[in-house]
């Protein structure tokens, strides 16, 4: 899953490097100009910090409209072939996404569609599926959610129990999913369900599930922040036509893993942008906060203990920015996957530390939450701190990430 300081950081805050191709420079210039000229007016009530916390209809309408415009302008599906509704460029997506982040415009609502579903379909989908589903993902006409985690299958995803039973040319689905981001807004779900109880790894199949049907119930879950970021979804004899199956029966685990651990991962794929704040802009804001927040009449920045903690973070954030520069250099990266696989755990933990540090800088002011007229930036820091656990838990918790790194990169014995 996308998260505040991981994949996003890979693509942001690059020094404006001399672009290799003149067309690339031109394209970047075009993106920059377009975004300047088409920046949407602010919403009446502020948008949540990240696209997975959106719940209100007015926000949804506003964000769908914005994503559609960006898609038409070529900032989304930039490198996807034209036949699938893309724009058919080569290696321009990272430039477009980079400029979207840099320009501080709103994020894209359909981030699961862009980040997970579209890449999955592009690799594993049938020709008909690609032609039917990709374009409405890009334009946000159809919002997607993802049905992977279950009450009994979180970090140990392969234990999932939601069943899929073949009945003629359709499948009957029973069970439930949880932590489903965008569940209340979505009309489609990328679903993993078990077609064979005996074969743990080869008994899972991937489907495209229409949510608007009698067998599907969606119930929102309130997060610790009070926001409704995600849902639980119940299936009682829900129906999926067999032509909505992705890849072979039993190939679901392979399909899921190829997207989850693909080096290009979520964000890079077709242009998902889930946050408008980068790690570097956040730490700069934190430094400003420490310089302007006074305790006992003295700026917090002048307290060596707090200053040291902030500078430590500043250094680590510079390191992840430099990781993005080093990762493609074969002679220096220690193997193609070593740095990319670190990006989630490192980025999300630094993000959490950054928010926690901000609370410390604010002291009692950190108690002031959304809606309080005295709250610094309308409660951004306590909200950000609580939401930072999205990064360290979802999409493979930090503990699972460390298992993956130890096993895949360092060759340590497998835990399972």
């Amino acid at each position: 899953m996308a998260h505040p300081y991981g994949m996003a950081a890979k693509m942001t805050e690059q020094q404006s490097s001399p672009e290799a191709r003149p067309e690339a420079r031109e394209f970047r210039e075009y993106c920059r100009r377009w975004l300047e000229e088409n920046r949407p007016p602010p919403t009446e009530t502020p948008l949540p910090q990240a696209s997975y916390e959106v719940t209100y209809d007015d926000h949804r309408a506003y964000l769908c409209d914005w994503q559609a415009k960006c898609y038409e302008a070529g900032l989304i599906a930039t490198d996807v072939p034209k036949v699938y509704g893309g724009h058919g460029y080569e290696n321009f997506q990272s430039i477009a996404s980079d400029e979207v982040r840099r320009s501080k415009v709103p994020y894209f609502l359909n981030w699961i569609g862009l980040g997970m579903v579209a890449p999955t379909l592009l690799i594993h989908g049938s020709e008909e599926q690609k032609k039917r589903f990709l374009k409405p993902i890009f334009s946000a006409e159809e919002i997607w959610c993802q049905g992977y985690s279950e009450p009994g299958a979180g970090s140990d995803l392969v234990s999932l129990q939601t069943s899929a039973v073949k009945d003629g040319d359709q499948w009957i689905i029973n069970g439930s999913k949880v932590w489903t981001s965008l569940g209340s807004l979505a009309s489609w779900m990328l679903l993993l369900a078990r077609n064979d109880k005996q074969d743990k790894y080869n008994g899972i199949t991937c489907f495209l599930l229409p949510i608007d049907q009698p067998g599907v119930t969606v119930r929102p879950i309130h997060k610790m922040t009070g926001e409704c970021g995600f849902c639980e979804v119940f299936f009682e004899n829900a129906i999926i036509a067999d032509d909505l199956r992705v890849d072979d029966v039993g190939a679901g685990w392979k399909v899921a893993m190829s997207t989850l651990t693909s080096e290009r991962g979520a964000a890079a794929g077709v242009g998902a942008v889930t946050h408008t704040e980068s790690p570097l802009s956040s730490v700069r804001e934190l430094i400003e906060l420490a310089k302007t927040t006074k305790r006992n009449g003295v700026p917090v920045w002048d307290d060596p203990v707090w200053r040291d903690r902030i500078v430590k973070l500043y250094i680590r954030i510079e390191a992840i920015i430099q990781h993005a520069r080093r990762a493609p250099i074969e002679a220096l990266n220690g193997g193609a996957m070593r740095l990319p696989l670190q990006s989630k755990v490192v980025g999300s933990e630094i993000g959490q530390d950054l928010n926690a540090t901000a609370l410390g800088v604010l002291g009692m002011q950190s108690s002031l939450y959304v809606g309080d007229e005295h709250a610094v930036r309308n409660g951004r820091w306590p909200l950000g701190y609580m939401n930072s656990y999205t990064g360290t838990i979802s999409g493979g918790s930090s503990e699972i990430q460390r298992n993956i790194l130890g096993e895949r990169i360092l060759g340590l014995p497998k835990t399972k």
Partner: protein, 370 residues
Amino acid sequence: MAQPQDFGFDDDIVMLKDAANRFLGQRQTLVQLRASLKGTEDPYRGEERQGWYDPAAWQEMVDLGWAMVPVPESAGGLGLGLVAAVAIQEEIGRAACPTPLSSTLQATFVLKEAQADAHLAKIAEGSSMALALFGEDGAPDADSTTVTANGNKLSGTSSYVQDAQKVDGFIVAAKASEGLGLYWVPKESVTIHRDRIVELTRDQARIELKNVEAEVIAEPGSGEQVMARALPALLTLLAADMAGAAEWQLQTTAEYAKLRVQFERPIGFFQAVKHPIVNMMIAADETRSLVYNAACAYDHDPEDALRCARMAKASASETAAFCSNRSTQLHGGIGFTWESDVQIYHKRQMHSQFLFGDASWQRQKLAELL
């Protein structure tokens, strides 16, 4: 200022790094070092320890052109930048190699900033040098020197001089009435008082100067500026050495965790062992990325070089402490013994951690730039 996206690691520098890796890997330096340490182990009753290095290896390094890598072409060198020097230093760190090259590379960047071509030419010809900058308290800037200059005569003692027994001469920071100056003195003119140190791969000394005749490298009053310009290079070289050593600590600990069996499993199976090893990798990688960034900034964007170098050394000091700690702990009893190479790296890292200022010092200075 625009920096190359690849840090300046062109094909030649990558080849140089590979060659250094292979050369140092084949030398079995630590086997020889251990032979030289025999009988010196006991800190109370052991024999005196000499600052051992392999003179033949040093001569080969000179012949391979490593010493002249960052020396300007005008002084007979190859005219490459800090990125190239860092490529070599990282490999020296990985091998924990005792060599006058470490000090000589540092001296080269001080001489470059002082435009001291005559002395740079000596390095290109195979001469070795070390920096003598610090006063008795070891404060991490040249201003702490207690050596005084009267004309071109130097008096006083310079402390914490690295590789003092290996080199042909010293670049000494000394205070004159006009301000800080930098001077070159040959080793024959000074008295070397060897320190008894924890570290086994370096030697360290106080060098005593009694009205010694010196050659001026930076005129009194200009020394501070020269050192300020050279400092980013010195910090980055040291951080590169530490990054190389940290990678060794990581790989060696991971290998051990695959081999050592307890409770009928290799200990690397257990997450209490696996996760800290991954944390070593995360730390080592952060330092490496910051080191390459700092080297590139020194070569291409001097305005930003100090900020980047402070970040690299701060990160390296934290990484060195952490990887040393975990490498000894996760090796269990064997890592605590003299017999294990883990202790050699641990001590090299402990030493490097404080050279030119530890992590909190670097962060304090960095904060002034933010």
